[in-house]
Symmetry: C2
Subunit: 380 residues, 2 copies
């Protein structure tokens, strides 16, 4: 195989995306080699991963004892140095939150292929990252199932007219505002279809997740916000669709399994048969249903669309406000509907910066988070 | 526009496909020019079409009085000469039955683009036509909604693993065999979703239409019969799907409207916005349902799959037997379930020819039809 082997860095290797990326890599030892692994605090899992995949380069924030115990031979490098390391072809940006921002930018500047699962990168700094990628011939490959679906539907096509993101509707689909006021973090964390982290699970329940995906889609596919729609499709089989100039629509379908879009990003333009994936059995297929999103019960969706329309640093402010508000909700300090209220307040008073630098955005991120905590009358 | 205008011949211009082709052409006067029109007996409609589109070349089988009355200036040419005429870029093969066979072959030999709606061409002579097309750089473009859907889903892709043809299930979906025994031609002709000719409408009711489409799909997309499945999807919004090596499925969707696949074949690789097409409104979308085909009540589907598996001249025999049997059913000479019985008998006694010539096939066609009439105890 020699040079055909793709050399991979997994940023956030102990998280949901990271672990599933390693599952894909494990299935194709002749196609991929793990060069670098980066994680936060779960260093015992990281040590196992480094040992299994013989990763030469490692980054971690937590205790190094588990790595020492296994007697692993590795080189420690900061996240940003890993992202632009010359030995690496594909950077899987699987960290959540803004920790991945600088690393993603570093990978873009180094002209890497970036399999991007880090929503915040595109939402907060889409303009900067896509510009850097263009300048340095970096390629940003979507890993989210929705964006992967759109990317697959666009393959070989030239005239997309509308992107249609599907949404499961989350665990509280059909709830009234007064019912949602009483919803707890515990209830929200029982998401029906996907296995994900806690922040993204709450975002799925508020539909902010879909809102962030709309903003990402603008940058990924260079589409204006008004050419992107959302359709509720609770079965989560159609992962998204593209409508073309002639009205023809293409949809991508599969059982919900994040490993499929991850694998597609890693193997693109090839597609490889993976025996771990369940193929759709049409004889057992349940009905597909479609609904309009309820913008009243789920105002986060509208806030995200509005932030995208305003542009500038509104999406960054949205993202920061959401992260702070969701944090408060997870600690039971605010109610479910307060999440959107706080975000709305934060956006109402936001003063947008045009053509922001990364530093502008990071500054806004800190300021908006603090402001949200302040508005909520809490400081944790 | 000059040389960018595509010059078109419409074979079967007064039939369903032909009229809808002209509707598409009418919407884009800068993109298409009608050079030739060919029809059977509806010469008054043909005269109107020749007059409107200023077609220079004409073929017809019926009375020429309507054309004379309008004082039209045209050159009469046989169908096969039109199909290979140097002034023509795209031949729309919209005739039904075997009348289009020789013309399609003539177009393939002349290296034309062939927008193929004539099922019999591919089912009876798929091997010959695809070989001629390959030899002469002719391109065969599907016009059927199902094959167009597959073609669209394959765009830019390289690893199709399975083709999934959708079927409405026809007007008798859910009927038992004993109920089907009593079904009349009149009932069968009330097809719910598509506007089509009578023969194809009966084929839709028996599911032979889907069977013929499976055989066509083998030739269009160079796929073995066992990699093609059928799923009943009564809403007829998903027109067909392709499953790839990684298990990812792409589907093409639109409201049922034959003009869309016709336009796609004519404009390919471009897609043009056509204000006459209704775009899908997801807010009004009904549920999509999926069912397994009932091979017992609709044995034609199984007969077609079996004929494809056997290869040789079995598909041609199937086609001929079907045309004869459907003719008898339309004249109320046999019952609905007799259609498949007669076809089965004809196939059981068929002696296949390997690497058949067109003459072999035409001979088989005549012989099998006669045999079906004979078996039915009738000779009309």
């Amino acid at each position: 195989m020699g040079d055909l082997v793709k050399k991979i860095a997994v940023l956030g290797s102990t998280g949901s995306i990271g672990r599933q990326t390693l599952e894909v890599v494990r299935a194709f030892p002749d196609h991929f080699r793990i060069i670098a692994l980066a994680a936060g605090n779960n260093t015992s899992l990281l040590a196992e991963q480094v040992n299994e995949f013989k990763s030469k380069i490692v980054f971690f924030e937590g205790d190094k004892t588990p790595l020492d115990k296994m007697g692993l031979d590795y080189k420690f490098l900061p996240l940003e140095d890993i992202a632009c390391h010359p030995d690496i072809d594909i950077v899987v940006a699987g960290t959540s939150g803004k920790v991945g921002l600088k690393a993603t930018l570093s990978a873009a500047k180094a002209g890497k292929k970036i399999a991007l699962a880090n929503k915040e990168s595109m939402v907060m700094t889409g303009e900067i990252i896509t510009a850097e990628a263009r300048r340095n011939n970096a390629v940003i490959l979507p890993v989210d199932s929705e964006h992967s679906a759109i990317w697959q539907c666009l393959r070989g096509e030239t005239a997309p007219e509308r992107l249609i993101l599907t949404a499961s509707g989350g665990p509280f689909k059909g709830y009234s505002i007064s019912e949602l006021e009483k919803v707890t973090a515990e209830q929200a964390l029982k998401h029906p279809t996907w296995f994900m982290g806690t922040k993204i699970t709450i975002d799925s329940a508020t539909l902010m997740n879909k809102g962030l995906e709309i903003i990402e889609a603008c940058w990924f596919f260079d589409m204006p916000i008004d050419k992107i729609s959302v359709v509720i499709h609770p079965q989560s089989i159609i992962h998204s669709m593209v409508e073309f100039a002639d009205g023809s629509i293409k949809a991508q379908l599969s059982y919900p399994d994040m490993r499929l879009p991850i694998q597609y990003a890693l193997t693109y333009p090839e597609r490889l048969s993976n025996e771990n994936f369940s193929k759709i059995n049409w004889n057992d297929m349940k009905d597909f249903t479609f609904e309009k999103p309820d913008y009243n019960s789920f105002p986060c969706l509208k806030l995200a669309i509005e932030a995208a329309r305003q542009g500038g640093t509104y999406p960054a402010a949205l993202c920061a406000a959401d992260e702070a508000a969701v944090g408060l909700f997870l600690k039971n300090k605010i109610g479910f509907m307060d999440i959107s209220r706080l975000i709305k307040q934060a956006l109402d008073e936001h003063e947008s910066v045009t053509n922001p630098s990364l530093d502008n955005i990071l500054e806004i991120d800190i300021r908006v988070r603090e402001r949200v905590l302040q508005m909520a009358g809490t400081n944790s």
